[in-house]
Structures are given as C-alpha cells and as structure tokens.
Amino acid sequence: MVDEVTRKTLSNIPLLKIKAGPRDKELWVERLKEEYQTLIKYVSANKAADNDWFRLESNKEGTKWFGKCWVIHELLKYEFDVEFDIAVTYPMTAPEIALPGLDGKTAKMYRGGKICLSDHFKPLWARNVPKFGIGHAMALGLGPWLAVEIPDLIAKGVISYKEKVAE
C-alpha cells in the first residue's frame, strides 16, 4: 500500500526505466546515468523545499556510495555518516544503507550499521523494480528511519549534540 506521504515524496523523484545491475556493463552505465539524474532532481527539489538532508557521492563505477545525512531536532543539527554498496543483484534488491556511526546504538540496525528497514519498504521496492533507484531508497528508506529513530535516540541520550561538526 502506498500511503499519502510516500506518494508525495515519490512525486518529487523521477522513476527509472533501465533495469540493470553493475554486472551489466553497458546497461549499468545507462542505469547509473538515470540514477544520477534522479538524485539531482531529488536533491534540487529538496533544496527548493528547504528540506536538504544529505550529501552523497560514489566511486567511479558507482558501486559504492557514501556521504552524510543529518536530522534537525529541536533546532540542533545531528549529522551521521552514511554508506552503502550496490549489490550485484541491484536493482532487484534494495541497497542496504548503513549508518556506521550508530552501529550498536540501536536495536533497529543490523551489524555494520545497516539500518533495519521497515517491513513495508521491501515489498514496495519489489513491486517497483526497476522503477525505484538510489533516490527512492534514500527518500523512502533512510528518511523515515531517521525521522523515527533519531528523536528517540536523542531522548534516550544515546546520541548527543556535537558542536561544530566538521562540515
């Protein structure tokens, strides 16, 4: 089921067309192009809405992605590293986004800081192969997870605000 919030988020992210993984040589390139275009759109839409919440870059092949993401809670900005690999099965399986900084701090996380995505994300992704890409994974996977977990973790005192986090 696609709820209202999801639909709205999705409307800002263009859908992908090419179904190809990193092994698919030519097609992967095409796919990667689409991924970038999608991300650009998403990010610029976020910026326009004053809702910029992450930075991402990838290796040359576009199989490893890393960057930062942040949450503003009670007028304080909490920043976390984010990284994930594109598995060979991509785009059939969703990328496993990890927040290594929070590894071991919350139960909703696999070893290595991989976030435990909600139950309905995976079937949603499965239904939308190959239309969903990295942007969707960020928007529908990491975004909601952060929105739910971080205020909780802050309240528990697991994470605290660090002044002057290096930009």
């Binding site: 192009k33 970038y36 610029s44 910026k47 326009a48 004053d50 910029d52 991402l56 870059e57 576009g62």
Partner: protein
C-alpha cells in the same frame, strides 16, 4: 566510453547540486513555530481565523468589521460578521468595543452593528411611512425593523423635525403622527359627532370612523363643541349637546306645564342618573322628591288647598284623581306627609288615596248610631254582653293567675273558651272568624285589636250590618271602593261605642238589679219554698201508690221538679257571682262544671245537692236542698199542714182549669187522671204519661165500674193513637168523641168518702 564520461559529468553535476546553497526559506512549519513562539512570548497579538490557518491582527479585525458593516449597508449581525470574516464570535465580541470606540455613528444593538447611514435610511423610511399612513406606532416599527422599541424611539425622537416630520403624541410617546393626519382625524371626529343627535356609545362612533380609542379621546377635547362624553373610559357615551339641550328643554317644559317630572319619563328619554340630573336641573326650584317623580310647590299647594276645602266642606278628596296619574301610592303618601300638618291630620282620615275629613266620617257614623244602639241593647238583652264581660274577667283573672298556676290553667281556659265558642251559637263563631281575616294595622286600635283577638271579642256590630248601613250613603258619594277601609276604620270605633252603650244599658239594669236584690232574694226564697213544698206534697202523694210504682215516680220527680229547684238555686248563685246564668237545659255535667268554678262556700253543698238529683231518694234531696239553701242564706219554712190543704186545692183547681181549656186528647186523659187522684186521695201527684196505666189501676178502687171502663177504653185508644199504627187516625176520631165525657167525669168526680 562516452557513457562513463557522461556518468562522471552527472556525478559532478550531482555534487554541484548538493553543494549549492539551499534557498533561505522558512517552511510553513517554521513559520507556525515562529508565530506561536512569538505569541507565547506575547511579543505580538494575533487572532486566529476559525479554520486556524490564518492570523489576523486586532486592527485588521476592526478594519474588517468596519468594511463588512459598510458592505452590508450599515447594519450587520455579529454572528453573520463572524462568519464573513472567518473568526470566532468571541473575538468579534471582544473587539466590538474597539470598533465602537471613537466612532459615534456606530451602535451595537441587540447583537447587531448599526451605523448612522442605516439610521438615516430607516429614518427616511419611517418618514415616508408616516406620510403615507399619517400615524406610526413605535411598537409596530419594532416588528418591522426587528429593533428594540427604545432604540427606535430614540432614533425617531432624535430625527424628529430633521428627517421625520410629524408630531409625538403627548399622551403616548410611542405614537407619532403628522399634522395632516391629526387634521384628518379631527375632521372625521367632528363630522361624526356633528352628525349625531342621540347619545351614542363611543365604541359605535369609533367603529364608524375607524379611529383608535386613544386618539379619539385625546382629540375629543380639541374638536368637540357639540356634546359631552359621559366618561373617558372605553364604555363611554357621547351625548350631543343638541340632545342634552332638547332633553333639558323637554324636562323643563314638562315640569313647567305639569308641575312634576316623572322619573320613568327621565329614564325613557335617556337620563339614567335622574337623581343627580334633577339636582342639577332644578337646583333653584323648590321641589319635592317623591318615590317616582319630583313635584313642584304648586301641586303641593293645590293639594293642600284641596284638603283644606275638604275639611271645611266636610267631604273628601280623592288624591288619585286630583294628582297626575303617574303618582303611585308611595308618592301620594309622601305628598300627604308633606302637606298634612298635625292639625290637619287630626281633622282628616287618610284611606288609600283618599283624604276624608273626620266630619264626613262622623256624619256616616252618626247614621249608624241608631243601629249601634239597637244592637247594643239586643246584645245586652240576649246576654251576650254579660257573657263577654264575664269571659273578659275570666281571661283577666287567668292572666293574673298565670304567674302562679302555670300555663296549664290558661290553656285549659282557652280550650274551654274554644269549646264555648263552638257551642255558643253560630253568630259568635262567625264573628270571630271575620275578625281574624281582617287586615290588622289599618286603624289606630290595632294593639287593642291584637289584644282582644287573643282574648274575647264581642262585636256589637258585624261587618255585614255596617256594610248595609253605610253602603247607601257611600254609593251616593261614589266612595264604594272605600267601603272596606271605611268599615275597617269605623267598625272598631262603633263597636267600642256599642260596647260602651251596652255597658251603660247593662249598668242601668245592674243598678236596678242591686236595688231589687233584697227583694229578689226574698222572692226566690219564697219561690223555692213553694217549690220545695210542692215536692214534699208530691212525695206524700207518691207514697200512696203501690211500692213498685214509687221508684219510677221518685226518679221522675227528681228529674223534673227537683232539677228545677237546683237550676233556680244555681241561677241565683250565678247572678250573685256575676257568672254566666245557668241554662235551662243544663245537663248534669254542665252543672257540675259550673259548680266547680264556684267559690268554696257554694261548692260543696251545691255539689252534694246536684249529686242527689241522680240519686233515688227524695228525702236525700230534701236534706241536700236545705243545706244548699243555707249556703245561699235562705231558710225553708216550717211545714204548715193547714197550708197544705189550700195548696192541694189550688193545685186541683189549676189542673181542672187546664183540663177544661185543653184540646189535646192525650193530655186530657193525663190531666183527668191527676184530677181524680188529687180529689180521691186529697194528695198531689206528679207523674208523666208513662205512669198512667199504673195510676188507673190504683184509682180503680175510687171509681165506679163505668167510669173505670170508660177510662180504660179511652186509655186504650190513646195508646193506639200514640203507637201511630194504621188505626191511629181512627183512634183519634174516637178519642175526640169521647173526651168530653172524660172531662165531665173528672169535673164531676167527688171523693167517695165525702159522698158517703
């Protein structure tokens, strides 16, 4: 490898996009946060709209309210305002004061805002309406404009003569009208009132001219010169001056012409409060208020003159005909009260509506004088007067005894009287009746009447007597309708007079009687002596007869001669005691009763005497007589034997005389036998016809054979005749033939001894 280049370029673009600065824009959420923070800190004052999505500053709200008011034509409901502006009603209410502050032309009325433009508008409307209708009521406007009366009142008053051209009703500030309307109404009222000639209820007038009651009454004073209102209330009547004037004229004319005014007539012409009216109308006149009318002095003078004349001419006046016909009896009474002075009152008699001079009545009563005298005499002679006197005394006495002897006595007395009244002859009974049916109170003797009615009434003159006596003269005068009252008036007087006359007559007789009393006493004594002597002789004769006859003859003797003696004694006693004289046919009971009423000195001897009458023995009677006479202070003379002979002889001669003059055949036999007995035995005998047969048998020894048989035959015929059988006529004839013979025998009979 162009693809990879492209990828690289895209990656760079991506980085570039990510690094480009985010636009400095507050999200909606931030704005709300900021605003709420500011509100929290009370740094700004804002009003939320009802959907919560917008804020307003108070000054904006005030502005909005003003503009909405303007858009809505100067009048708007606060609830509507809240809806239109989209804020809560509470905010509107909170800021209404700000709106009103400094804005004198805006009013908040009943949850509505109204500004001066609207007021001007409705003032204009009201003015138009006022011009159209002529009159406007604030209460009606409140319904139309749905505004409070007070506000409208203020509005109108403020705009009076500025925007609204009219006048305020002085009596009712809520009503406004135009001059023209008032003029119109006045004209209408004037027209209506001018047209009326008779009293009319105001309601009827209002219905006709379609003007409200209030208006009518307030305008009436300004318009009315034609009449008056009975009151200022709803049920008032309008009385036109014309009508009142004609009424007054009529009353005055009538009064001047006739000298009186009848209340009924006043009511008829519509003056219901005639008493006040008359007071007003005839304030200067000398009038007399009567029961049904007022009357002026001239009529009274006339009546007075009439009465004077009546007195001087010794006649009568019929006021009913002399006064106007409307006068009722009460009026006449009142007039008489006024006119009749004390002096006149003594000279006149007022009966019904007639004033009769006393002289006239006297004339009539004089006519009756003869009659009264005659009647009085009669009543004395018949003893009625004496009876009346005694019963009067008895009743007086019983009255005196009342205190001592309780009422039983009185009741008994009355019962006796009642019994006496019943038995005492028809005339008296009827008289008592007529007396009681008579209306009491007419005459001055009322009290006496009442008193006498209870007691004893003696009417010398009966109503019928008087009626017949005065009918003629009264009819000649045309006064027959006054017959009854005149009789009522005269009868007691004449009766009194009659009783007086009777009293005089009686007194003279009594005087005679007392003068003769001694003589009477002697007379009676002698008479009684003679009677007692006779009885003794009779008894002596009786004793000659056989014993079986004697008892019967004793009884007969007691019943006849002895009873006579007793009656005589009682009569004497009655006269002596001034009691009712004893009747001849007194029976034993009546006698006893009479004796019971006597004083003690008489009571016992007389009671004993009376008792012997019903006994068997003449000897007892003789003893009792002696005793009784002693009580009456009389003496029985000593027996004189020489005198007996002469008495017997006289008796015989008397009998013979009777016999010779007698024609009754049966009596002849009786007398003949008695004569023979007397002659034969030289004794007197008193016997009834019943004893004749036994006497005959006794006389057989003294008679010759033929004489005896002649008597027996005659006796048989007599019995035959008295038996009234078929042969009685025949026997009578026979007796007529024979009686001279019997007479002859009796006359010629000689005592056998003497012959020898």
């Amino acid at each position: 490898m162009a693809d990879w280049e492209e990828v690289k370029r895209l990656a760079a673009d991506f980085q570039k996009v990510q690094l480009s600065s985010t636009t400095q824009k507050l999200s909606e959420r931030n704005c709300i946060e900021i605003v709420s923070w500011l509100l929290e800190k009370k740094m700004i004052d804002l009003i939320f709209t009802s959907d919560g999505k917008e804020y307003l500053t108070p000054s904006q709200l005030v502005q909005d309210i003003k503009s909405e008011l303007y858009v809505n034509g100067g009048r708007i409901n606060l609830v509507d305002l809240a809806k239109l502006i989209g804020v809560d009603l509470a905010h509107i209410n909170a800021h209404i004061n700000d709106v009103l502050k400094g804005q004198k032309d805006i009013h908040s009325v009943l949850g509505q805002l109204i500004d001066s433009s609207y007021i001007t508008k409705i003032a204009g409307e009201i003015n138009e309406k006022l011009i159209q209708q002529g009159q406007i009521n604030v209460s009606k406007l409140t319904i139309q404009y749905d505004l409070p009366a007070e506000f409208l009142q203020q509005t109108i008053e403020k705009n009076l003569d500025k925007l609204i051209f009219g006048k305020q009703d002085k009596n009712d500030p809520r009503i406004f009208f135009t001059e023209s309307f008032i003029a119109r109404c006045k004209a209408r009222i004037r027209g209506a009132l001018g047209g009326l000639t008779r009293p009319t209820p105001v309601a009827a007038i209002l219905a006709q001219i379609d003007i409200t009651e209030k208006l009518f009454f307030s305008l009436f004073d300004q318009t009315s010169m034609y009449g008056n209102l009975t009151s200022r209330l709803a049920g008032a009547q309008y009385i036109p001056n014309v009508y009142a004037r004609s009424q007054n004229e009529w009353v005055q004319n009538f009064y001047k012409q006739n000298g009186y005014v009848e209340f009924d007539a006043l009511i008829r012409i519509g003056i219901s409060d005639y008493k006040n009216y008359i007071k007003k109308q005839f304030a200067n006149e000398k009038i007399l208020q009567l029961n049904s009318c007022v009357v002026n002095q001239s009529i009274l003078d006339r009546i007075e003159a009439d009465i004077d004349e009546c007195i001087s001419s010794k006649s009568y006046v019929d006021l009913q005909t002399n006064l106007p016909s409307v006068f009722n009896e009460n009026d006449i009474k009142l007039v008489l009260d006024k006119v009749l002075t004390n002096q006149k009152l003594q000279q006149t008699l007022v009966l019904n509506c007639f004033v009769i001079s006393k002289a006239f009545i006297e004339k009539i009563s004089k006519d009756c004088d003869e009659l009264v005298k005659e009647k009085a005499k009669k009543s004395v002679e018949s003893g009625k007067y004496q009876q009346y006197q005694t019963s009067l005394q008895v009743s007086h006495k019983s009255l005196k005894f009342d205190d001592v002897e309780e009422k039983v006595d009185k009741r008994e007395e009355r019962r006796k009287k009642a019994a006496g009244g019943k038995t005492g002859g028809g005339t008296q009974g009827r008289e008592t009746k007529t007396k009681s049916t008579k209306k009491p109170g007419r005459t001055t003797t009322k009290q006496v009447d009442d008193f006498e009615e209870k007691k004893v009434v003696l009417n010398i003159l009966t109503e019928e007597d008087l009626t017949s006596a005065i009918q003629m003269p009264l009819e000649e005068e045309g006064l027959d309708e006054l017959m009854q009252p005149i009789i009522d008036y005269l009868l007691p007087k004449l009766n009194e007079q009659g009783i007086e006359i009777a009293g005089n007559i009686y007194a003279t007789t009594i005087a005679d009687r007392t003068a003769n009393r001694r003589q009477t006493h002697n007379e009676i004594q002698n008479k009684l002596n003679v009677m007692v002597g006779d009885i003794r002789l009779y008894e002596k004769g009786l004793k000659l007869l056989p014993a079986d006859c004697q008892a019967q003859l004793y009884k007969y003797l007691l019943k006849t001669h002895c009873t006579d003696v007793v009656t005589e004694i009682l009569n004497y006693v009655a006269a002596e005691q001034n009691l009712n004289p004893v009747n001849e046919n007194f029976n034993n009971d009546q006698r006893l009763k009479f004796i019971n009423d006597l004083p003690q000195e008489y009571k016992t001897p007389l009671a004993n005497l009376t008792k012997t009458l019903s006994g068997q023995s003449v000897d007892d009677f003789m003893a009792a007589v002696e005793e009784g006479l002693a009580a009456c202070s009389m003496i029985i003379k000593k027996i004189d034997k020489k005198k007996d002979r002469t008495t017997i002889l006289a008796h015989k001669h008397e009998l013979l005389e009777k016999l010779n003059s007698c024609t009754d055949v049966a009596l002849i036999l009786h007398l003949a036998i008695l004569v023979i007995f007397t002659t034969a035995t030289q004794n007197m005998l008193h016997a009834s016809g019943r004893h004749l047969s036994s006497l005959l048998t006794f006389l057989k020894q003294y008679l010759s054979e033929e004489e005896y048989s002649e008597f027996m035959l005659y006796y048989d015929f007599v019995t035959l005749m008295l038996a009234a059988g078929s042969e009685s006529e025949n026997a009578k004839e026979k007796l007529k033939e024979k009686y001279p013979n019997i007479v002859k025998i009796a006359n010629e009979y000689k005592r056998p001894g003497a012959e020898k």
